[in-house]
């Protein structure tokens, strides 16, 4: 069936160190686009990154991700984590016809 699997639970990283949040998917249907959403405490989710092109790197706010259809992945990475990056991150897949599949979310905490 269709699913999006993220690094589960809590991820803690020290400020200045790299961070990687995994996202993989299983699908029966064609994937139109992939997203990473970020939700800061007491705020609404907002788009961080979007990609619909295989093997093309997309970047925003220091984060980057590359959609790899061969390995069914869309991992989120940042070379140097900041305290302000602490938030809940969702990977989401869009298959068309207004169908979205969200992962369970990964809570990132950046410590000094």
């Amino acid at each position: 069936g269709d699913s999006v699997t993220q690094t589960e639970g809590l991820v803690t990283v020290t400020e200045g160190l790299p961070v990687k949040l995994n996202c993989t998917y299983q699908t029966t249907y064609l994937t139109i686009a992939f997203f990473w959403y970020v939700q800061y405490l007491n705020e609404a989710p907002q788009v961080l990154l979007k990609s619909s092109t295989d093997n093309k790197r997309t970047e925003h706010q220091g984060f980057h991700a590359t959609l790899h259809k061969s390995s069914s992945s869309f991992h989120l990475q940042k070379s140097s984590a900041q305290l302000s990056d602490s938030a809940l991150y969702y990977c989401a897949r869009y298959t068309g016809y207004q169908n979205f599949y969200f992962g369970k979310g990964t809570s990132l905490t950046v410590i000094p």
């Binding site: 139109i32 997203f35 989710p45 809940l88 016809y97 979205f100 969200f102 369970k104």
Partner: protein
């Protein structure tokens, strides 16, 4: 200001009551959605609405129903709330086609507590 607006921010009610939440978007989008975010922060899409076409997640109980007057408004009605309906309900909107298709903008949410 262009955004997605939701009212109320919070709502506390008792089991069996009917509730209704409002959502309005001023982004000019043609598609709107309702999501449920539970206590574990799981996000589940409930409905999407585009040009009078409603798509329903088959796992959503029938006591939930969306109501739309135009493409800028999509309200959510719960006919007889249950304790498991306690959650944050998020409204979102997007373009269905075009360069920025499917990029959803979320409202601040309505937190429902069912006693």
């Amino acid at each position: 200001e262009t955004a997605v607006f939701q009212t109320p921010n919070y709502h506390v009610t008792q089991v069996g009551n009917e509730v209704s939440f409002n959502c309005k978007q001023t982004l000019g989008h043609d598609t709107m959605y309702w999501y449920k975010q539970d206590s574990k922060k799981l996000l589940k899409i409930m409905f999407s609405y585009n040009n009078k076409q409603l798509i329903v997640n088959e796992t959503v109980p029938r006591r939930f129903s969306p109501q739309s007057s135009d493409k800028a408004h999509l309200n959510l009605r719960i006919k007889s709330v249950e304790p498991e309906d306690s959650a944050v309900y998020l409204c979102a909107s997007s373009f269905r086609l075009g360069v920025n298709y499917a990029e959803q903008f979320f409202g601040p949410g309505t937190r429902l507590t069912v006693l």
